[in-house]
Amino acid sequence: MAHQCKFTLLFAAMALTLGARAADSPKEIKIGASYMTLNNIFFDPMNAAASEAAKKAGANYVVEDSRLDISRQIDGVENLVAQKVSAIILNPVDSDAIVPAVLSANKANIPVFTIDVKAKGGNVVCHITSDNVEAGHLAGEFVAQRLPQGAKVGIVDGPPISTFQQRVEGFTNAISGKLVVGAHQNALQNTPEAFTAITENLITGNPDLKAIFAVNDNAAEAAAAAIETSGRKDVWVVGVDGIPSVVKTTAQDGIIKATVGQQPGQMGQLAVEAAIRYLNGEKLPAEIKSPLKLVTKENAGSFHW
């Protein structure tokens, strides 16, 4: 993998020196991508789909893996700038710390597109993301359809970060007027141990809860485990993310009845398509939303990242 990367770089460098003349020909599009990590079940399909989309459009595609290291990512982006790529697709390790890298791309007049995580400065043509409010909303609609009017639900929330807050906002909007939030508690850490204890207390303190909305799939798994240990059969869980283990329990009609799946592959594809459209002179909105998918027992078998 590392070797492959080095070779790609080597070839890119050769192409750069040899192809100074070739650059005059208008067709030569080269997309550079930098991800926070590729050693991850979420970002792997994102990269694969982006690469596929570039190939389809007849563009070259080079990729930098930051391995969750922001300084490595900044170096990587600067390498892409030095290679004079036509566009950069960026999935920042850190929203703030990535800004200098965006600025150096701006300086070289290379358009930047961000995926999933925003950059807090510099000029970004377009941000490709899943809408967290919408994710919460889809989960809320699912719960509202399955429970009688006025039933009580609990929210297993996480630390106060915007992702979770937006999901809770969407969920609460979707159920308002139909269901009642009987209990809502924040885990102070985004860890299974924190989510487990909260769920135990939530379902014990509020025996009338019929369902739990968990702000992500880790929380959903912890909540399901807590419910299972308690022996309760009348409470079920809905999560957000679509991680493979949760999709599997959903398919088996376990305690987790649904999760709202993000689609990382689609995000990667949308990013490359947006870059190519932009390079062809098209105007783009500041944000492109990657569609979400409600994963239930019925369709879990066909869902994957």
């Binding site: 050693n39 860890t191 299974p192 141990e193 487990t196 014990t204 485990a225 240990t229």
Partner: protein, 319 residues
């Protein structure tokens, strides 16, 4: 035993040192919560409290030992995380038996304890620095070796420790109680235990009396590492997976439990019964406030106030 205990402050002081304040706190919180929540005293909720308190209670045993002997161990939370992930990896990836995986986890904790003890006792690096470093190292190894991802796929054979029951009492809680009983006997009724407390009270005097202070110190850190890694296995079993981030922040909760339990933060005085009550108090506060649907941000404020109150009371009862 003295025939005539001194009257006045020293009675309060002794009561405090053996966890009197934590006892008052647990009973007081219990009364308030049972009045305001109908389920607080239900069997299901008492089971919850047992499960939720076991890990912090276990870690606090070791923390009591090091604090009583004049040290501190900030690495306990990271040891919990590392022993859980390595134990889980040994079972799921290297196909060891559950016992083998457990032994791996316990060995790792003991080794980190030995490293702590060596640096503190023999190389004279301050305990707070040494264990801050191993906090970082152990967490780093846990994250790196798992790429930050949980290790799942543990079979049901490992569920007993964290999720099973012994006569309807959570097994983890039963193990914690057993370890507290053993610890109390050792600390209060053996020469070794009294030496550990003595070293915390006056290290120089202990040395002049001919105690091998360095060896005692090394031993307290190793025991702390060992018990913390056992807590790590309990948590791993409770979560059904080895979580590289497990136990983060446990060092703070366990220090709070020790201090609430009346152990003097500078060493030389304290009991494990007090620590047990301190750990119980922290858990009961979290549990009861959750039952009353009081937000966890308020809870942080609340726990801080209780801690401040307890320490202030101790200042007045000492003297």
């Amino acid at each position: 035993m003295k025939a005539e205990p001194k009257l006045g402050p020293s009675i309060f002081s002794r009561l405090y040192a053996s966890g009197g304040a934590a006892m008052v706190g647990v009973v007081g919180a219990g009364i308030i919560f049972s009045q305001s929540s109908s389920v607080f005293l239900s069997a299901a909720n008492l089971t919850n409290i047992g499960r939720q308190s076991a890990v912090v209670a276990l870690v606090s045993v070791g923390m009591t030992l090091v604090i009583i002997s004049g040290g501190i161990d900030l690495s306990v939370g990271s040891v919990v995380g590392l022993s859980g992930t390595l134990g889980a990896a040994a079972i799921t990836q290297f196909h060891m038996s559950p016992i083998g995986g457990a032994l791996m986890g316990l060995a790792v904790g003991t080794i980190i304890g030995a490293i702590n003890g060596t640096f503190v006792a023999f190389l004279r690096v301050p305990a707070i620095i040494t264990t801050l470093a191993t906090l970082s190292i152990a967490r780093g190894i846990a994250l790196q070796s798992t790429n930050g991802r949980p290790i799942s796929g543990l079979t049901a054979s490992f569920a007993f420790l964290g999720r099973g029951d012994i006569l309807n009492v959570p097994a983890a809680f039963v193990f914690a109680v057993i370890i507290y009983i053993i610890g109390t006997l050792v600390l209060g009724f053996t020469a070794t235990g009294k030496h550990v407390v003595g070293i915390g009270g006056n290290e120089e005097a202990a040395r002049l009396a001919g105690l091998k202070v360095k060896n005692y110190r090394l031993a307290t850190y190793m025991v702390t590492g060992l018990i913390s890694s056992f807590a790590g296995l309990v948590l791993m079993s409770r979560l059904g997976s080895g979580q590289p981030t497990a136990g983060a922040g446990l060092e703070l909760n366990s220090i709070a439990a020790v201090v609430l339990g009346g152990t003097r933060i500078s060493g030389g005085q304290g009991t494990l019964i007090g620590t047990f009550l301190g750990a119980l108090l922290i858990t009961v506060l979290g549990n009861g406030l959750d039952l009353l649907n009081i937000g966890s941000f308020y809870q942080l404020v609340f726990v801080g106030i209780v801690l401040l109150l307890a320490v202030t009371v101790s200042k007045f009862t000492e003297s």
